[in-house]
Symmetry: C2
Subunit: 341 residues, 2 copies
Amino acid sequence: MADVARLAGVSTMTVSRALKGNGAVTAATRSKINAAVDELGYVLDLSAGSLSSKRTGFVSAILPTLYNSNFSDTVNGISEVLGNGGKEILFGYTNYSREREEQLIEAMLRRRPEGIIVTGGTHTPRARQLLETAGVPVVETWDEPADPIDHVVGFSNAATIEDMTARLYFRGYRRIAFIGGDSTDDVRGFARRKGYERAVEMLGLERAHVVPLGPPPITIAHGGPGVARLLQEWPEVEAAICVSDPCAFGAIMECHRNGWPVPERLAVAGFGNFELSRHCWPTITTVAIACTDIGRRSGELILQAIDGQKPAIAPATKSIQIPHSIIERESTGEAASSRKS
Amino acid sequence: MADVARLAGVSTMTVSRALKGNGAVTAATRSKINAAVDELGYVLDLSAGSLSSKRTGFVSAILPTLYNSNFSDTVNGISEVLGNGGKEILFGYTNYSREREEQLIEAMLRRRPEGIIVTGGTHTPRARQLLETAGVPVVETWDEPADPIDHVVGFSNAATIEDMTARLYFRGYRRIAFIGGDSTDDVRGFARRKGYERAVEMLGLERAHVVPLGPPPITIAHGGPGVARLLQEWPEVEAAICVSDPCAFGAIMECHRNGWPVPERLAVAGFGNFELSRHCWPTITTVAIACTDIGRRSGELILQAIDGQKPAIAPATKSIQIPHSIIERESTGEAASSRKS
DNA sequence: ATGCCAAATGTTAGCGATAACATAAATAAG
DNA sequence: CTTATTTATGTTATCGCTAACATTTGGCAT
């Protein structure tokens, strides 16, 4: 920067101001500086700047996996809002491991992020403590923690599947099973299962039946074996709710393979409104969540909270509820006309 | 850090050495320091450290999209190797826009990465210049640039589809079409199309027919309309090669919907060996690329090149070729027995 | 012209760590 | 038991930028 300043015939401070775009710099000076920058091929060093200004321009986001377009949507929402807010995002993926999450949080704190977005409300004690004492806004997403650390942008996974179960009941199904979500490692999958069990009880159905599929991630590959096992264990079953759309898809493909018509032999529903479900045959009934909004709202909360540290500005909202809806499609017996969704 | 040093009764330099784990520090001193760190809840500030040491610990990786598990695999490979090498990765997504790539490169250079991994070998002139003058190792991936900037870890997209076309020919298909890859925005899709056209010519087929699908990303949603248009434009067609598996999947689902049996009425092949293709019905013939290896090799090259700046160490390999293979499945007429792949 | 205010630019100090060198302590060798 | 040598720790000086304050310049009213 000193070189640029020399070439432009100004002080480094003026160069700094010109490059940040905020401080007052004459158009003439600015163009001299830009010329010098171009000539020297200079690129600003933010790591030095952030040390001095105590603002790193980073926000961390921690998600379970790269391989789930629901989370990708959330990432997109975060990027959109924080990008506009002039922040960069440091992404990390836990592969559904809480230990890995703890490591990631610690690694990210070393970079002094100005805010942290995490997935879920269940953390190791040390991770929780790190988040609490980090001194920056924290947003927990995709869940409804009983005891939030700071902000929350989420929804009740249990309620979504409760609704789905009720909807299938309304459509006339009485023998309804749930596939996936056996272990407490899979916090959200387990919550969905609980929602199913609660609905079965409330609706007074004669039997609840869960086919557990082990720890997450539950992928397409799990759906086939899951549905095969279900039909063996409970041949009278009429409908299966899967922990996610990829799982439902795998189940439906297995049905095709075996000549079990969907939904006539077995109705199948999923969760997440993946692109897959809109286009496969039959189209899949699912729970739609505004995943991108989860990201957007989280980003907005972070930005507000960063600004809110200046006392003049109102503090950021603590908690935002994301709505869900049931999309009925062919896999649970809706007519072809509903395919347009 | 000064607080920690005071509490542990040592100098900040000793604290720094203890926390880095490299310098020589007595076990006794180290445990005193760790105690102080725990008591104060201190977390090392890497942004300060990197200013001083001139090593940021960052490597940037720029990819087209979050919504493609092939690229996710590459990301995983990169993370795996660079994580072990003690580097953190700064990800950016271009959404297939070269302008966005240029912006991202510039933004990332401000963070002084120790290496840069980009997707493809086609960049804006300014982006190219930024990469060339960045003074850090650069790896271009997923392609075979005619004029590489530095290192390359890739393969010939054209050759993969050339091979696929030949394989379909070998299986007896003569009227073979290609779906996708019309625009030069889609560098890799366009290369695949060229491979198809070259194969058609070399095999002496009577007709090449391409159904262009517009700029990337080409998703599941494009496959259905694509195949419908193909069958209308060229009713005698026997086989369709799609620019990617999701597109092939969309095409196959459209065939189901219309009662066109796959592969009897139309054989369909894809690219990328997505999970989808292994599990859908029928299973989809595809080109398998070692996507994770692209990431791993790229990460290794970066690490070697960073070390290689010390003259004693051999310079890193310039170019690595990633192999591909054709996986034949049901969608092109293989027997059910081949499904196991 | 003179003075005044605001906008533009300059000066100084320091952000929090580490490199490089200096010194002290511990160990090995003779 | 000394001296040589290694190992552990301390000291000092930046790294490249920006905050905070100081100063200058230019525009405008009087």
